[in-house]
Symmetry: C2
Subunit: 516 residues, 2 copies
């Protein structure tokens, strides 16, 4: 075995242990008997330890050093910075398979080894405690009891950034963990431009007399919902020979393309929620299934980042499945499965329900027009928390004020305000921006694909989604983590990531429905 | 932490890794998408490696040595042999918690560390290849293609015994792996006595004019079967807050009492098979759920052996659930769920179907009267294979001859003969006797319990199985692996393990039905 092959073997071993832990997580949400969570916690702890040991195996460090010396002797440095700036000039070297694998392996290895075991343990313990504190605080609408946990999480996040050499830019480090290469400054610019176009659009739609009927759909038997959902996701291209969908409290997608485990939830009176939830997870699943299987366990078999991942789920959920062409094909089948429930529902009323716009205080219930405003709010508050401009104790008031400004509504309590999301309770800072960046990227990809395949929506209307999937496979999935998010967008769409395609898409779709 | 606590922590860690691997196995049978077996194989291999590393952690050896020195200084040796002979004399020392844990930990540690890594890998690889060779040979009824694999498995089994100091008694070692302390000589004596009583009973029943109608039950909807099965197993005492039941091709029970995963299979025309399969697995599950949770991961939280395990599944399946008192309670509910299907079925016909006796060539389809003959056959052949009295190439002929002698039927081919069971393809020698020993033990426990609780069957007729479960919890489950199988039987029933209670039970139940 060459040095590189030895490295890859080590990386794959650590990755495989991670996939086992992930399956335990899936099983916990889908199958775990109610009183068995104690044993699952023990299993997860032991697996985390085993995975950490595999990822910090000194042999990985030795192999990396050896390969880097070889590369260096060839006259090129596999450093992250060198690549980002020179990607367009010298892709053949910096973006070669080996260089990509080594660059990311070095980054991951350093991050895993530079954190002292004590720190890792303290953070894990605190995350577990903070999660329970958050759940209880939310149930009792008692932010004050949770505030110390959030403060400690912020302190831990700053300390982690410091330990890894990002002490002067802790929030940039938090972002980089989810979307390598992106910075808060870049996101600030993108979000400011988005806000400029989005706020007037939201106002116009709100003032429209067109209203979707949110109480239109009732009594959709779960078994038939399941049938429809399966038909839809299968036709979109999800490979059920390497994946499955089950039911859990909150929908998610886990696993790798070799074995994808998605979930959804069913409600007889909210059939569209189950359907679009499942399509969203299918978008994630299709991305994972499209990553080069032979590279699973290395950066080439890994998604480019969270924004790219979210771009895939949103593109299928929104651009595709909320579009007229999609419903042109699926509406007859939907009516065949639910003839009584849809008897009095016109096609236009159904399509409006699919694209209902309705402000809500809750991010996860939000329509795609309002959704990005929820992210702008969180991004602004996270930045202020990290800069010190905002103290944790002042967070609820700041949330309410910003909510009023952006959404035109003020939460009556912290349950539907600052306590609504789970992310921060696990120390998950810098994650929220990815959702909005994913929406931007989805719209920009969508515009590019429509130009590249002018007959795309006719294909959808015939129930053929393979053209789109093939395009995504080739232009996004096949690259794995070869390019950072911004570089990937540049290469695929020919221009820099911008909020304009998203604004254009929203105005086209929702303007057509609400601003006639 | 004391040295003992440190040891227990290490043992529990290895155990927990084992439970993760077991969950992967369950998921493979229940959930795995059809094309994902490649990734599951990788996950299982990595977990086997991690588990082996944890079980052979040199720190375990050091801690064991230290504790053994301490114990030795106290004037007692925690050796296996010393205990077996002196158990009745000095239980307070040899059977103390610490001694039991240390004795078994030493045995397991030696077995895990004395096998060279090369040997372990060779055996694992061969098992995988032999399994596929067996499956193919069975499909094509081609024993000759499988014979070399079986020969190699025998050679590996002998080599393993030799490496562990059992070179002169390789088959005893194979038995000891499943039922610590038992020998082929002891089993030979027990089986000979059983055969003496069983053969005439089988002949009498076969000559009876009473016949169960095997085609009595049809079109039992799976959903209602599921409801009935859940009600039954719940009432027998299975704790669904720490376990679940799902569907797989072959029924099994996996996991620990902290999270039991059982499976069954459904067939609309064979409702009793699903039901009794599930009750059998429930018996295993109740044992695991009854083991002291605090000791999970040590010998005190582990079943006494395979025979003891099988005694629990058989007792619930046969002595309890094929009995009149059980049906007195459950028949009305069964009829309420399947009124049309049972309209023309009398209570007596139903009870006879529950206790149908019908010779078959296939062990897993066998009734409980014939079942033990299938085991006698396998035990005799295994002994001859190990002694060298029988060559692998002569196995099919020997199987057929013995089949004719014991079952009065001759397989037309090897698919329904020597190729029917999976066990040997994985090197699982010495496992079959446990089934029959379990049947003996179940009957002997049953006789003891009925003496101890004269009103037991009246309790069953009222749907109350808690008295039986409580007795088993106290007399069997609570002990874990504190006593070897034979010692456990002696302590609980007051006499040595014997086939007479089994013969008495079979004659009582089946004589009453067939020999009136």
């Amino acid at each position: 075995m060459t040095t590189h092959d030895q490295l890859v073997t080590k990386l794959k071993r650590a990755h495989t242990l991670g996939t086992v832990a992930e399956l335990l997580g899936w099983d916990e949400q889908v199958n775990l008997p109610p009183d068995s969570s104690d044993v699952r916690a023990e299993q997860l702890a032991v697996m985390a330890e085993a995975q950490h040991a595999a990822a910090t195996d000194p042999e990985i460090g030795r192999l990396l050093g050896e390969i880097e010396t070889q590369i260096s002797a060839l006259g090129s440095q596999p450093s992250h910075k060198a690549t980002a700036g020179t990607a367009t000039r010298s892709t053949s070297i910096a973006d070669s398979d080996q260089m990509v694998i080594v660059r990311h392996a070095r980054r991951d290895y350093d991050r895993a080894t530079k954190l002292p075991a004590d720190f890792v343990r303290e953070k894990a313990t605190h995350s577990s405690q903070a999660f329970h504190a958050w759940a209880e605080a939310k149930a009792r609408d008692d932010f004050a009891s949770y505030a110390p946990f959030l403060e400690k999480h912020l302190a831990l996040a700053r300390r982690e950034a410091e330990l890894l050499g990002w002490g002067d830019r802790p929030y940039d480090y938090a972002i980089d963990k989810h979307d390598p290469g992106l910075t808060a400054a870049q996101i600030t610019t993108l979000f400011a431009e988005l806000k400029l176009g989005l706020v007037p659009l939201v106002r116009e739609i709100r003032e429209s007399r067109v209203r979707a009927d949110l109480g239109l759909l009732h009594d959709f038997p779960v078994e038939s919902q399941r049938v429809f959902l399966r038909e839809v996701t299968e036709r979109l291209g999800f490979n059920y020979r390497r994946g499955r969908i089950d039911v859990s409290l909150h929908p998610f997608c886990s696993g790798t393309g070799a074995d994808i485990r998605m979930t959804t939830r069913f409600d007889a009176d909210r059939p569209l929620r189950s359907l679009f939830g499942a399509i969203h997870e299918t978008g994630h699943g299709l991305y994972e299934q499209g990553l080069p299987r032979v590279h699973l366990g290395t950066a080439l078999g890994q998604a480019a980042g969270m924004a790219a991942h979210e771009s895939q789920s949103r593109l299928w959920e929104n651009q595709v499945a909320r579009g007229r062409a999609f419903w042109q094909f699926f509406e007859p089948r939907f009516r065949a499965l639910f003839p009584a429930q849809l008897a009095a529902v016109s096609s236009e009323a159904l399509y409006l329900a699919v694209n209902a716009v309705q402000p809500t205080l809750i991010r996860v219930d939000s329509d795609e027009v309002h959704y990005n405003l929820h992210i702008l709010l969180r991004f602004e508050l996270e930045q202020k928390l990290f800069s010190g401009a905002l103290a944790v104790r002042d967070l609820p008031a700041a949330w309410k004020a910003l909510c009023a400004e952006l959404l035109g509504q003020t939460p009556a309590n912290d349950r539907e305000g600052v306590l609504q999301d789970v992310h921060w309770s696990g120390g998950g800072f810098g994650y929220f921006p990815s959702y909005c960046l994913g929406n931007m990227m989805a719209a920009q990809l969508w515009a590019t694909i429509r130009r590249a395949r002018p007959g795309l929506e006719e294909e959808f209307a015939r129930g053929d989604f393979s053209g789109l999937l093939g395009w995504l496979r080739e232009n996004i999935h096949a690259h794995g983590r070869r390019f950072d998010t911004l570089e990937l967008v540049r290469r695929v769409t020919g221009v820099e990531l911008s909020p304009q395609p998203l604004l254009g898409y929203l105005r086209e779709r929702y303007g057509g429905l609400y601003l006639k």
